[in-house]
């Protein structure tokens, strides 16, 4: 039996050698492939940034933040009113959607996690995240513009808030679910009321993740064009109230890029650069402020 078993061992070793070599190579090959494709995904992002900086930088001066847009064909000026308009509308949208989204999330995750209302709200919120942003604009147009008879920052804010609401609701819910249930057990076990448990124990734990979700929603809303296009319209002037047509960066880019004047197109590039910088800034800020805390 001995020679037999030896050959068997021999065969086995050879076989093992081949497969391990094959495994080694295929492993290396696939790793390289993964790295290549990950680098590939960065190409659009960096080419976009490169283009924005190349085309937008020449006109980027301090005055673009303080001056009004130039009339078609003329040079100079800036888009200070559009920056203020974007901040105003996103601010209104946040004021409208954040309380609703956060309180809604608290209800569905803490007060009635197993009710059919909760399942319905969650399902509809998920549906809402997929709604094209122009539909939000149309809805706000019908809801606000038709009733007030005026394009306004308020209407733009309402349109953006509809866009932000499901994101805030769902990220807040995830943030609350992420709080270990052992904290709730401890709190209830010590005789805390649901109100005390939620406000003193659960919310402080979930807050960083909730804030991060909110800032991501803000960043997304700041870049939207379609919802504000026919709710806030545009304006060449500084806005004096939230009840009048208001300029925004995204609509300015949309308008100016379609003009036949080289200077205005250049200014659209500069506005794009500023918008991307703002959105990226908010994202980075959110990461810096809130990421560490809940890990």
């Amino acid at each position: 039996m001995r020679p037999n078993s030896n050959t068997a061992v021999h065969f086995f070793l050879n076989h093992e050698k081949k497969t391990s070599l094959f495994r080694l190579w295929s492993n290396q090959f696939l790793t390289v492939l993964c790295v290549l494709f990950s680098l590939f995904t960065l190409v659009p992002l960096f080419s976009l940034l490169y283009l924005l900086i190349k085309k937008g930088l020449p006109l980027l001066h301090f005055s673009v933040f303080t001056k009004l847009p130039p009339p078609p064909g003329l040079h100079g000026g800036g888009f200070g009113n559009a920056i203020v308009g974007t901040i105003t509308m996103v601010g209104i949208a946040t004021l409208l959607s954040a309380p609703l989204g956060i309180l809604g999330a608290i209800y569905i995750s803490e007060y009635a996690p197993h009710s059919s209302l909760t399942a319905t709200v969650r399902f509809i919120a998920k549906l809402l995240t997929g709604i094209p942003s122009i539909i939000c604009g149309a809805f706000a147009f019908a809801l606000v513009v038709l009733h007030t008879g005026e394009f306004s920052a308020l209407a733009g804010g309402v349109a953006l808030s509809i866009l932000m609401l499901p994101t805030i609701l769902l990220t807040s819910e995830q943030a609350l679910i992420g709080v270990p249930s052992s904290y709730r057990d401890a709190s209830y076990g010590l005789g805390a009321t649901p109100f005390q448990t939620i406000w003193c124990i659960v919310l402080p734990e979930a807050l960083p993740a909730m804030m991060m979700g909110m800032m991501l929603a803000v960043a997304r809303a700041a870049g939207e064009t379609a919802p504000v296009l026919f709710t806030a319209l545009f304006s060449q002037q500084w806005a004096s109230s939230i009840m009048e047509p208001t300029a925004s960066l995204s609509v300015l880019i949309y308008n100016f890029s379609a003009l036949p004047y080289h200077y205005q197109v250049q200014m659209a590039w500069t506005a794009s650069l500023v918008l991307v910088a703002m959105v990226t800034g908010i994202n980075i800020l959110a990461q810096l402020l809130f990421r560490r805390k809940f890990q």
């Binding site: 052992s182 904290y183 401890a186 709190s187 209830y188 076990g189 010590l190 005789g191 005390q196």
Partner: protein, 273 residues
């Protein structure tokens, strides 16, 4: 003195529920059934837990001992679709009575969980949390409570210089002792412990066990444990559960030396489970 609990549906006479007549009954479980949805997890439990003694619940996983424990402070009601039949009385009064406020009930009963769960805040704030939720915020009272509670769990000397540091920086055993301190800081009458040592090393376990023996002077203690050595070391009475039924309830030394039921004997000698 030694009784078996028969699985009958009729009311069991009160004298058979307690192994010893010289012990004053504090928690009384009467014809108790419990259901998760359609699944029944406790079957006609009848017995009486005496005041200021340690009673341990032993039995295999899924035998219903934790479920019963979590009924004493009605923690099970946080879960969806639970239902009970029968009654549990504490100090002669039904805990399911409409006049009982669930919050008030839980404030009379401290609970310690399997995994230590201090809040992610300071040691001090952890201990005073039960007082704060009752609206007692007087600084002198809080300071006094922190020292008394931490001393009774033998943690005071270890942490007195860092009371305002985050509790999550403590070791596993210290965290569990902190949780016990928190559970007793508002001076409840009962202390429920759900496998309090299952995540601890033998040294930390020994400290908690010493503590339990010490604490029974003040509290009625019920402890769920998977360790039969632990049950025999710390408890005066032991209840053996299997398949949602209370199989045998007696003085601990008798359960471990001369059990009546074959199931109990098989379990404690390691022949099943």
């Amino acid at each position: 003195m030694n009784q078996q609990i028969k699985n009958s549906t009729e009311q069991v006479p009160s004298e058979v529920m307690s192994p010893s007549s010289d012990m004053e009954t504090f928690i009384k479980v009467i014809n108790f059934n419990f259901f998760y949805g359609k699944k029944q997890t406790l079957f006609n439990i009848n017995f009486a837990i005496p005041t200021k003694h340690v009673t341990s619940f032993i039995g295999p996983s899924g035998s219903g001992k934790s479920t019963l424990l979590r009924n004493f402070n009605r923690m099970n009601e946080l879960l969806p679709g639970v239902r009970h039949e029968g009654d549990i009385a504490i100090d002669g009064k039904s805990i399911f009575d409409a006049s009982i406020e669930i919050i008030a009930l839980r404030r009379r009963i401290g609970m310690v969980f399997q995994k230590s769960n201090p809040f992610p805040r300071s040691i001090y704030e952890n201990v005073v949390f039960p007082l704060r939720i009752m609206g007692r915020n007087k600084r002198s009272l809080l300071n006094e409570t922190v020292e008394r509670s931490l001393r009774s769990v033998a943690l005071w000397d270890e942490v007195k210089d860092r009371l305002h540091e985050n509790a999550l920086g403590l070791s596993g055993g210290q965290m569990q002792r902190l949780c016990i301190a928190r559970a007793i800081s508002s001076q409840p009458e009962i202390l429920l412990m759900d496998e309090p040592c299952s995540a601890l090393d033998p040294i930390a376990t020994a400290k908690i066990e010493e503590l339990i023996v010490e604490l029974k002077k003040e509290f009625t203690i019920v402890i769920v444990t998977h360790s039969m050595q632990q049950a025999s070391r710390v408890s005066d009475l032991t209840a053996f559960f299997n398949f949602g039924k209370l199989i045998e309830f007696d003085h601990t030394h008798r359960i471990f030396t001369a059990p009546i039921e074959k199931q109990t004997e098989d379990y404690i000698t390691g022949r099943f489970g």
